[in-house]
Amino acid sequence: MPGDTSAFGLLLAGDPALLAIVRLSLAVSLSATALAAVIGIPLGAAVALTRFRGREGMIVFLNAMMGVPPVVIGLTVFLLLSRSGPLGSFGLLFTPQAMIVAQTIMVTPIIAALTRQTVEDLWAEYRDELTAMNVGPLRKIATLVWDARFSLVTTLLAGFGRAASEVGSIIIVGGNIEGFTRTMTTAIALETSKGDLSLAIGLGIVLIGIVVIINALAWVVRRAGEAYAG
């Protein structure tokens, strides 16, 4: 690689390979966070607002799942998607889709558990009102999620942060294939193994910068939304 091969140099020069890596990282982690939100927010709100047998167990389970090591999730998804595994016929192993699946499984419990807490706290405030209005459970969930939407931004960021920063699951199910499943974090792992520590740390700083930018954008959106909503 000729020229300035520091991560910043490459980024500033618009190096297509590095940009593709950044793009893939964002695409995978944002898709996983979106999917996890679609599953996790209703799930968390439902657990917060309904009473059923085993609810306490469910809460403990969701909380505990927040701490499952990515490498365990990666290995599980790997075994499921392997050609000799039960879902092997889809041919998804070593693809970006497999990485999205693994990160979705990882992020969903985080979003569900945090949503449950947020909505449960909000429910304490709204209980009398909503009970008096005699609204159905689905309506209740929708109302509270809508009202909690600004707090839930932080929940989504927590999920995205976990997805964008992990390497354990995606390096297993993605295979770290150059130009196809190589992300910021797997590239950092690879450059470290090549002994190119300065490029690795440079990529790490670029990754941190991108995460900060996304958080700043989310913050601006949240503030604007709050101002608009009064």
């Binding site: 898709s31 979106a34 999917l35 939100a37 679609v38 392997s82 050609r83 000799s84 595994g85 092997g88 889809f90 041919g91 998804l92 192993l93 070593f94 693809t95 889709q97 999205i100 929708a142 295979g175 770290n176 294939i177 150059e178 130009g179 196809f180 499943t181 690879l190 470290t192 193994s193 090549k194 002994g195 190119d196 520590l197």
Partner: protein
């Protein structure tokens, strides 16, 4: 809620639609070793192959043992590794079609310049291993069933040492790739066995240097095999074989020989040597 639902449908749709689209793409998955990737060979060779054939080669870089397991599960079309005994076992299980020798380089014993065990310049690698063990000098082992790990274990045996029994705190099996092992050796002033390609390409050498090289027992042969389509019907037989045929063709062999870093050749083609 509506936008969220349509987002979900779109994401799910993209997920499902893109899978078969990717499957039609002209590409193969090659399970290979960290040494071929970390040495930079693939980065040099694959674009040339792609230009010639239009085939994208997706490389999963693992240890030899793990790469062969990837083949055994049918998750790769081709395996490109360096441990002949493990490759022959793979063939005898019916997992591979045929083994083709491709190239070789050699292993080198790396250690700190201070060389606490005084092995520098030895021409008998078994004796160097014996000395390291006697002096209880720090030694980093890959410990990951990789080709390099298998070669290292064989060298201990050649030195008359039963490493499982004789190892002490001085012998650290880290269970990671070649680069990680070199990083560890560099940080702890330890000895380590490396393939020459990864060593030349490695950028964090610090005060490590080659201490022992040139012993015939440090020969490192690479072989390539198509994963058996009879066992794994999803294997892209034609494209995979095309890659193998190109690697062992005069043209592919020349490309391998041409790969140099700082004027140093990293791999020596030997596809025409039937005993390799």
């Amino acid at each position: 809620m509506h936008t969220r639902r349509s987002l979900f449908v779109a994401a799910l749709g993209a997920l499902l639609l893109s899978a078969p689209a990717l499957a039609q793409d002209k590409s193969i998955v090659v399970a290979s070793t960290t040494s071929t990737q970390d040495s930079g060979l693939f980065e040099y060779l694959l674009p040339i192959f792609k230009q010639k054939t239009g085939i994208t080669v997706k490389v999963i870089a693992q240890g030899t043992g793990q790469a062969l397991d990837t083949g055994r599960r049918g998750d790769a079309d081709v395996v490109f590794v360096h441990a002949k005994s493990a490759e022959l076992k793979f063939l005898s299980e019916g997992q591979g079609v045929k083994r083709y020798p491709v190239m070789y380089n050699d292993f080198v014993l790396i250690g700190p310049k201070s060389d606490p065990a005084h092995v520098k310049g030895m021409t008998d690698v078994a004796k160097a291993f014996q000395t390291i063990k006697d002096k209880k000098a720090s030694f980093i082992s890959r410990g990951d069933r990789s080709g390099t790990n298998i070669a290292e274990l064989k060298l201990w045996k050649d030195a008359g040492i039963d490493i499982d029994k004789d190892k002490g705190p001085w012998y650290k099996a880290i269970g990671q790739g070649m680069g990680a092992a070199l990083n560890t050796a560099q940080a702890s002033g330890a000895y380590v066995l490396s393939d020459r390609g990864t060593w030349i390409h490695f950028k964090n050498k610090g005060d490590l240097e080659i201490l022992v090289e040139g012993d015939k027992r440090m020969f490192n042969q690479y072989g390539v095999m198509l994963v058996n389509p009879a066992k794994h019907p999803n294997v892209k037989k034609d494209l995979g074989q095309q890659f193998i045929d190109w690697l062992i063709s005069p043209e592919g062999q020349k490309v391998i020989a041409n790969y140099k870093i700082n004027g140093q050749q990293l791999f020596y083609p030997d596809a025409t040597d039937p005993s390799a």
